[in-house]
Symmetry: D2
Subunit: 336 residues, 4 copies
């Protein structure tokens, strides 16, 4: 039985406690937070779990094999580093760290110590993203032409990290996963802050590749409506993934176009095809339980997790470049 310690009981932490409690082969043995009220809330639901006030106390315990970090973004790197150095496997809430350099350093330590390092990109474990992944991998969509994802709503400003670190991280992790780690060669991003905090609350990211794929992400904390819509265009079919829909989350459009070779350069012929639409049934599983089980399995059986550290590295690499581009009004930042 794997001993799990969970650090940070803010918005996401209690969900992690619940799902690791439900996961097989693991046991939540302690939680840590400086807020006594948060600790007490966990105690009333899970009386057997030890309550600690400091993360370091978790890392020192010999009955803890693995640590889960759900703390503010800037603490991800120092806490993960400490935990790894203390010999614990580590799962970090997204984003894995705040820079590519930090992720690489954590990876180096994990390798040296022979420990698992994993990031919690929860959406990868949803039935919807799993379905899209299988549509791409099976070739049903054809070659990837575009990925266009919008994730906006009103609320939950983060005072220290822009909206791309909070929202675009989800879209980037989904893109990385369904494209099997397709690497962008450059990024251009724009954004704006509407508060004295100077933190961008709206941002747009474009990713360029070595082929004619394009990826674009829209993030906003100040939209009057909640939209979570991802469009994935393939040369054969196109998919719309609407995460706000309660049941019909994915629509597969058997639509496309083709261009005929012109006889003379002024007469291209474009044909459009509009076919049937399919709404596949999506498995209704709790994604976070999948994350927990995947982490446990990686430790116990050495399996490679879906939301692995490479995924974390790829996403943080883009986030860092995108943030840099935002500050320069869209200047292209090369990723090669």
């Amino acid at each position: 039985m794997l001993g799990i310690g969970i650090v940070g009981l803010g918005y996401w932490g209690p969900n992690l406690v619940r799902n690791f409690s439900a996961a097989a082969e693991a046991e939540v043995r302690c939680v840590a937070d400086r807020d006594a009220a948060r600790l007490q809330k966990i105690h009333s639901l899970y009386p057997a779990v030890d309550l600690l006030s400091e993360a370091t106390e978790v890392f020192q315990r010999s009955d803890i094999d693995a640590v889960v970090l759900a703390t503010p973004i800037n603490t991800h790197f120092p806490l993960a580093k400490m935990a790894l150095e203390a010999g614990k496997h580590v799962l970090v809430e997204k984003p894995l760290a705040t820079s590519r350099a930090e992720v690489l350093e954590l990876m180096e330590i994990a390798d040296r110590k022979g420990l698992q390092l994993m990031v919690d990109h929860t959406f990868l474990y949803t039935g919807a993203v799993q379905k899209i992944k299988s549509l791409v991998d099976s070739g049903e969509l054809g070659e990837l032409q575009y990925f266009d994802s919008t994730r906006i709503n009103l609320g939950l400003f983060n005072p220290n990290w822009s909206v791309i670190w909070d929202l675009a991280v989800h879209d980037l992790s989904i893109f990385d996963y369904i494209s099997s780690g397709k690497k962008p060669v450059a990024v251009s991003a724009t954004g704006i802050s509407h508060t004295q905090m100077g933190i961008e609350d709206i941002a747009y990211i474009s990713l360029f590749f070595n082929d004619s794929t394009i990826a674009h992400i829209t993030s906003s904390w100040i939209s009057p409506v909640k939209i979570r819509k991802t469009m994935i265009g393939g040369s054969k079919k196109m998919v719309i993934y609407d995460d706000v829909e309660p049941t019909e989350k994915i629509k597969i459009y058997d639509s496309g176009f083709s261009v005929s070779s012109p006889e003379d350069m002024h007469r291209w012929l474009v044909d459009y095809r509009f076919g049937d639409i399919a709404i596949p049934k999506i498995a209704q599983t709790e994604a976070l339980l999948g994350v927990a089980q995947d982490f446990v399995s990686a430790i116990v059986r050495g399996t490679r997790p879906i939301s692995d550290r490479e995924s974390g590295l790829n996403v943080v690499t883009i986030l860092e470049a995108a943030q840099q581009s935002v500050k320069q009004r869209g200047q292209t930042v090369s990723l090669v």
Copy 2:
């Protein structure tokens, strides 16, 4: 009675013939197109209208006071120039020309000759855009924070001009109008072509201003669904304009946020407000008839048209810069 000649009977031309035929104080006297079948179709509906094969024949007629151009984009400048030089008032299908320099030259000729020069930005004459304009002008929305517009569908590739010249032109003209000509100081745009034609079929444009306003436009010819949605965020209220909705095109959200001055810099307090939503009744008028009457009125009574040449200049200035930025993967192009 103003004599009108209409050049170009492709997709849009017949609509112009119909609406100028319905407009007061004007009479369509001739149409020109090199395609005999198109001419014949007009003849069957409007037997009194003369059929010509060349635009120049229209410009030479003494019974023609004003010319309407609905020809391919690259012909806008040379034909408009000829018409003005021939002493005709000119209305040009959007975009007004292909570069800022061209527009300035046409304006100079129009000034010299004392003639009206106008562009057909049809959407400005819809009940929906008129409503949004009044919401902005009355101060009901508060200060403009963002403008985010998506115009995508599958079809109608233009083989010579990218999607921004075809679709983004609408969004830019709407932004220019409702913001009363607010000038961006820089533009960053990205895009990609999925055909051998090398013409971008997907593009994204970000506009920067001297304040914290941001404008962003998404254009695509290869979306499986038709979306025409514009979000306008103000400091007091936000508007969503969904042009695909048959009747409920505009929703006004009495929602917003405010940031409290923090006691210490690490504790910003953001308050969110979610209030009622209003769906105002929108006038159901034919926008193109409004264009026709506005053009006639400008000539006959010297009124300033809504879709005036300044609007055309502002939009073409941005299109030109955006296209340049697209070719450089988002490099910022300054507009000042």
Copy 3:
């Protein structure tokens, strides 16, 4: 070339003129209406068509083979009778007549004279209804369990005939067609009038059969929104036909339930199945052109039209019984 005369140029008549003008093997030779302005409007669009003021003038012309009636409901029977007696084939706007007795009399005359008698149930010629028909006929839906159709909006009160003669007629014709003329054994209907005219503006019809099928129709002229939604439940699949949707009109749900034989009578086990959803591509044809061509073909080649007189008879039989039931607050009216 079949000579066609069209009587009645109100709301629907001009559409009939347009489509019979486009139909092969037929020619609109005259139209009749007592309103000179309506006649003039047709003249401007179809200068070759003769203008008459009385229906009887049409029936007397020897160059007219077939007559199309688009006149008020209560004139359908007398005018159709006159036209048949005059030796003309007849197509009547829905409903075919105002009672089963009237329809039977018209059928008897048509038989005696060897003439075609057809009703214009336009919806049967839409791609959507054709698709549903094929789903039922192929067995894909399984046994028909229910048909539930709602057709409501605000407007177009008929001052003399209740909403069921105006709107429910569409739903009944669709049911009759997709069920291949399945005959109800009884009807119960309710409704109410909200005006001094005493004509029901809201009505509900339930149809009973010899098996466990049920059909229900909701009709209203006083709904704030336009709804045209038909649900067809089968033992294998269920279909929702939403005619207000511009493109995605039909959704096929691979959902259902089954009941296990209980061991004791108090423990039934019901299993639910939720599967994929399919949105088939629907042919975008003008339904009324299909009506016109079907009528012409019936006359010229003796084919049996989709919207044949049996369809008209079945629908009028139910309408008459439903109206009787409405006046008696739902009292069951037997149809056998």
Copy 4:
């Protein structure tokens, strides 16, 4: 502090335990169910609550002031009767009983004993229904013209009581509440069973009144989609309440019609008015907590609950008559 005992821990019971635990001035002291697993589940969440296997044990306890029944429909009457006779206040899950006679008998006992008898019509405590009630009461909608409610989905067949006792009960309670207890004079209802259980899984109810109001309810357990939509037409405005919408549940349409007095009886003039639409903000409260607090307040302070026994009586009266009409294919059942 009021001592509460809750009987029945199936689908709804645990929700009642949770909300009565949260209610002020009350304390859940015991729960009863014959299923040990259900009892154990409550124990793990509420260790202080006593676990009993029989309802009668609850009624015998002197520390229990009030009993809440969430048991199968046919047990409502005998258990409520026993509880009242034992001197306990009683709240019964909807429907209050299975016949008007049963409700009247319970009311008589409650009166005799000076005890509260209340039914749990949960929807009356939602922000949406409260809003509609205030729109009706303030006169904003004008005179009530129609009430048309649809509540359908796939699932949860009750093997002993038809769909009207399960679903229509909600719509009837909402109608009764917003109309301030307007009494129908007759009911006509239809329905059908698609299983060997012989229990109607689809049903339609029409209610008639002494004026031109009509109410109609559609209930189904075999729809492929979940719909919960209520339309309320007034002489001034109309409301659509869509309970499936997560936030925009209520739309108020400033639309209507008026009929002009005709000069001659053949020329009625109907005017239609389409105005703005408003989507008011709805309070997001847990309705069932409102039920619990209302019950406690009725006992402690003698206030009249919203979902009072008259509401229960009115609804059961209609359900009983509707079920009778269903069995007779819509025969009118008089309620006066």
